[in-house]
């Protein structure tokens, strides 16, 4: 069943679908969550609460336990920020009747259109709000803008596509790369890092860029790494970006049959008799069920055997199913059982396993939790996670309906201020606010941007392990990442580095009619850079920085408007408020 694509508020049809699920309709091979279909015998353990001991740190690794422990904390954090919440609801909405009531509330609640709500929406769904983008969203209407972002094909992205075309390998297939580029050369790997950086800064399909980052980390294939020199760009295009707002089952199957993933997690060299467990383990632990799902080493080994034969053709560098490598024995992975089979049927069984995993309720909760951690809070309310998971299953693993539910949820609107930007986001957001443009021609400046982010510990696509960059604040409490970010912002504000980029005069951050006082100056710089006037300690810090008071007269010839303006700009961007997502 395809999801109903809605533009506008939820309809009665939405409610009908939900109540249909509750009467026992199923999607694919598994139920949509609650009691509809009895879970397969061995999968029963998956629905039990995670054991307390290993859950230590919550969010990303110990999925279910953390959710149980985290009910409502996001909403509490948001209350203090004064976010506009469309409706006050209990944090934990567990039963069927309550869910129906919540759906009703959603249907009756207008999508917020006030400035604060629109700003919250933009900060969460983009690589950084700017005054120009916020004005555009308010003019268009936040709901309509969000729907455009959820169907990005209609959003003109020609500017950043033009940047992409500057790379000579743009559009090259894997065999073409192997023809044109010396074997093992890292040209495309470095270039892909810079192009990805450029897309984050200048792409207009911003939610797609956010989701591309999300899935690149979820199905991480570390870039750069030598094994994928010829195919990592293709993985980005044909797996991550193609399905970033599509079906997860399709993305998962595409990743499993892409030479980048096959090489990165060694399934390419796995064979019957001597299976390599690397991919099978991460498939279950990271890509689908999650580590606390209750599977055993035997399940991992069975999955590894079932996945033998999915490999890479050495001559072309393309995916190939090699029946002679496939283990044809019977295999049971949790509740998924395959009898002994012919070698030619092996690929089909492997794909069925992937489909089964993608549609498993535990996978749904794992993905829903990660989406909520990305978009709501580091400890998202359990009830929201559950609803997003149900929507994901109801929609046959399509991510857009799940995102739409998330963005319409009271928990989302109550979460303003609850997320913290990671170092790269802080840097990218600063470049967007400063109006920095790419190189007038060529890509040298872009490659330097990527390099600068690498030194900061947060280069696009570069996380060294299969689990992808973390997205919780405590993981990034780093003195060095902070210092490097400050330094990069000074260089960008001064227009010094990377000096191949194009810079706007900083005076454009101020109105043509200059404010009369330093107090007014910091109102204006705040509006341009933090999207609100400076407040509290920010004013104290900046006035102290220039040795002025609120009422000190501002003169056009002051050094703070001249050669030291970039110091003020950088210091405003150093404020913790800039690091709130």
């Amino acid at each position: 069943m395809r999801p109903v694509l809605k533009v506008g508020r939820a309809t009665s049809e939405d409610l009908d679908v939900r109540s249909g699920d509750e009467t026992g309709a199923t999607v694919g091979q598994v139920g949509t969550g609650e009691p509809s279909a009895p879970p397969p015998a061995r999968a029963a353990t998956l629905d039990a609460p995670a054991p307390a001991a290993p859950t230590r740190r919550g969010a990303l690794t110990t999925v279910l336990g953390a959710v149980a422990a985290a009910v409502g904390s996001g909403t509490a954090a948001a209350a203090a920020t004064g976010a506009v919440a469309p409706a006050a609801l209990p944090a934990a909405v567990a039963g069927r009747a309550e869910r129906r009531a919540l759906a009703q509330v959603r249907a009756d609640t207008p999508f917020p259109t006030d400035r604060a709500s629109a700003l919250h929406l933009v900060q969460r769904t983009t690589w950084g709000a700017t005054p120009q983008l916020l004005a555009e969203v308010l003019a268009r209407g936040p709901e309509a803008w969000l729907e455009e972002q959820l169907a990005p094909g209609g959003v003109d992205d020609s500017f950043v596509e033009g940047v992409a075309r500057r790379y000579r390998w743009y559009g090259w297939s894997i065999p073409r790369v192997r023809q044109e580029v010396p074997s093992g050369d890292w040209e495309l790997l470095w270039d892909l890092g810079s192009l990805t950086f450029a897309r984050y800064v200048w792409g207009r399909r911003q939610l797609h860029e956010v989701m591309a980052d999300f899935w690149s980390n979820h199905l991480n294939v570390t870039n750069p790494s030598s094994d994928v020199w010829d195919n990592r760009h293709d993985y980005d295009t044909t797996v991550v970006r193609r399905y970033a707002l599509g079906s997860f089952a399709d993305m998962l199957k595409a990743s499993a049959r892409h030479p980048a993933m096959l090489r990165y997690l060694d399934n390419a060299s796995s064979r019957k008799g001597q299976p390599n467990e690397n991919y099978a383990r991460e498939l279950m632990e990271l890509h689908t069920l999650g580590v606390s799902a209750g599977y055993t080493e035997l399940d991992v080994r069975a999955a590894a055997r079932l996945l033998t034969g999915l490999t890479v053709d050495d001559a072309s560098g393309l995916y190939r199913y090699d029946a002679s490598r496939h283990d044809t024995g019977a295999a049971t992975v949790l509740g998924f059982a395959v009898p002994a089979h012919s070698a030619s049927a092996g690929e089909g069984h492997a794909l069925s396993l992937l489909d089964w995993l993608a549609r498993h309720p535990t996978t749904a909760r794992h993905l829903a939790l990660k989406l909520c951690v990305r978009f709501v809070s580091d400890d998202p309310p359990a009830a929201l996670v559950e609803r997003v998971a149900e929507e994901y299953l109801r929609a046959g693993t399509d991510v857009v309906p799940a995102l739409r539910l998330l963005f319409r949820s009271p928990e989302f609107w109550a979460s303003a201020g609850a997320k913290t930007r990671r170092p790269l986001e802080g840097y990218v957001a600063a470049l967007r606010l400063l109006g920095v443009g790419p190189d007038a021609s060529g890509t040298v400046g872009l490659s330097h941007l990527s390099w600068l982010s690498r030194e900061m510990g947060h280069q696009p696509l570069a996380w060294a392990a299969p689990n992808g960059y973390p997205d919780v604040a405590v993981a990034w409490q780093s003195a060095s990442a902070t210092l490097y970010r400050w330094n990069r912002v000074i260089l960008a504000a001064g227009g010094w580095w990377p000096n191949m980029l194009t810079f706007r005069p900083l005076r454009q951050l101020l109105p043509a009619q200059l404010p009369a006082t330093y107090g007014g100056l910091f109102d204006e710089l705040g509006r341009s850079l933090l999207l609100r006037p400076l407040v509290g300690r920010e004013r104290t810090a900046l006035l102290g920085f220039c040795g002025k008071t609120e009422s000190s007269p501002l003169r056009a010839t002051d050094e703070w408007l001249g050669w030291r303006l970039h110091h003020l700009v950088a210091t405003v961007l150093d404020a913790p408020a800039h690091m709130v997502r």
């Binding site: 230590r56 740190r57 969010a59 690794t61 953390a66 570390t222 750069p224 790494s225 030598s226 060694d266 060299s269 008799g273 001597q274 390599n276 467990e277 690397n278 383990r281 580590v291 080493e297 991992v300 400890d379 913290t420 170092p423 490659s447 390099w451 600068l452 030194e455 996380w463 060294a464 392990a465 299969p466 973390p470 919780v472 405590v474 993981a475 990034w476 409490q477 780093s478 003195a479 060095s480 990442a481 902070t482 490097y484 400050w486 260089l491 001064g494 010094w496 580095w497 990377p498 300690r537 810090a541 102290g544 920085f545 050669w563 950088a570 210091t571 150093d574 404020a575 913790p576 709130v580």
Partner: protein, 429 residues
């Protein structure tokens, strides 16, 4: 017009992050130097931003914890060449008995670790074999988290290094360091504020260029970071303080040549801070890329050979660089798990369990392989892997109590098994 003091000169593509020529981080960099420990949340961590002007009181060793990320193969590094099952389990990748640097009747060092042999002979390098942990997990991420939490069966959410430091009262700003990586390991998770840095030389602020300007910037940054999200505040204040402290550390005067790469750079910086007497108590360093599922090569060529060469050369350089100061340093290696006893079909090793721990320092009872060897016979293995006969916490406990001034460890290593110490280190005199 002022120019930045340190205009960035990004290394061109094809240069590694420390500016050395080379193809960049190696191949799969799986579990690399970025530090995986902190992948998830620690409730309430990092809220403390206390800063003391000096480190009174602490007189124990500087503890250097080198985390070998990805699953170090202790059976390659300290190869049981005398075990009758060893060669047969690894027909293509075993260290041949003839090539091993013999340590005793059972074990030999991998030939690529030859730089460490003099330290072994001098009694400054020791090994504990068959070291395991309570967690049975063969997931990198779970095994790492459990190892660095070091509190199985409890709901503690802090790391053992943080709890160790938490018992020492007021700490100097540089007491707890993660060097070589901008991200702290999970062992440091908790209320004690650590400083993370890639390198000392890059830990400078680009804005101010005079003392007066430094005061101006520092004041503004400290004021700004008096509010906002707790993690952002803490990191900002730590950055300002650490920049000031590191400005006072004398320039590098390394007395040894470190191998090119992030590990050598990190150990070089760690030695520099020890020599400067900068108040350092704990240094955490990550070394990644040990997850060798496929194509690890042979004892005389390839991935494992290269990695062990780098490791041995870096450790030997560290010891040589510090010279007599090593009497106040203990270095210990940890890895989330060892690898399978037998090779897989890809010329590599899948995830296993018990491992070798290397110990280096003036107080180490070196020249010995400590621990009980369980054997590699089919019935002796633990689900295909080396069985653990020593809980890694008993090794840490002995180091903390004999070398680092620790008393009761009930809060630091709760539930510590009541095993008598192996005698891997001598009490500090």
């Amino acid at each position: 017009m002022t120019m930045p003091l340190h205009p960035a000169h990004p290394a061109p593509a094809g240069t590694d992050p420390c500016g050395c020529p080379g193809p960049g981080p190696s191949r799969r960099s799986v579990l690399g130097a970025l530090g995986l420990g902190t992948l998830a949340a620690v409730a309430g961590t990092g809220t403390s931003t206390r800063v003391a002007m000096a480190a009174p009181g602490y007189t124990g060793d500087v503890l250097v914890v080198l985390s070998l990320r990805g699953g170090f193969d202790g059976l390659s590094a300290v190869a049981p060449v005398g075990d009758p099952a060893y060669a047969g389990l690894r027909p293509d990748i075993a260290v041949p008995a003839s090539a091993a640097l013999r340590l005793d009747a059972t074990f030999g060092l991998h030939p690529s670790l030859k730089s460490l042999k003099p330290l072994w002979d001098a009694g400054q390098l020791g090994v504990v074999q068959a070291v395991g942990q309570a967690s049975r997990s063969r997931s990198h991420f779970q095994a790492m988290e459990e190892m660095e939490r070091a509190a199985p069966g409890t709901s503690l959410r802090t790391g053992w290094l943080d709890r160790t430091l938490g018992t020492r009262g007021e700490l100097a700003p540089l007491a707890a360091l993660q060097v070589g990586s901008p991200i702290a390991s999970a062992g440091l998770a908790g209320p004690v504020a650590e400083v993370t840095m890639r390198t000392i030389s890059s830990f400078v602020m680009d804005g101010p260029d005079t003392d007066a300007e430094r005061v101006r910037w520092n004041t503004a940054l400290r004021t700004l970071h008096g509010e906002g999200p707790t993690t952002v505040r803490a990191a900002g204040l730590a950055a300002v303080d650490a920049v000031e402290r590191l400005r006072a550390v004398p320039a590098s005067t390394a007395r040894a040549t470190y191998p090119t790469g992030e590990l050598g750079d990190a150990l070089c910086d760690a030695a520099r801070l020890v020599r400067a007497n900068a108040g350092v108590q704990v240094v955490a360093i990550d070394s990644g890329d040990w997850d060798m599922h496929a194509g690890m090569g042979r004892h005389d060529r390839g991935w494992m050979r290269d990695k062990l060469t780098e490791l041995g050369d870096a450790l030997a350089a560290f010891s040589r660089d510090l010279g007599s100061l090593m009497s106040g340093v203990t270095l210990v290696t940890l890895s989330e798990f060892g690898r399978r006893a037998g090779q897989n079909g890809s010329g590599g090793l899948d995830h296993g369990h018990a491992n070798a721990v290397l110990l280096m320092g003036g107080g180490v009872v070196g020249g010995r392989v400590h621990g009980r060897w369980p054997g590699l016979g089919a019935s002796q293995l633990d689900d295909g892997a080396l069985a653990g006969t020593t809980d890694y916490r008993t090794v840490l406990a002995e180091v903390l109590q004999k070398r680092c001034g620790a008393g009761s460890l009930s809060g630091v290593l709760p539930g510590l098994p009541t095993a008598s110490p192996l005698g891997v280190v001598r009490a500090r005199s």
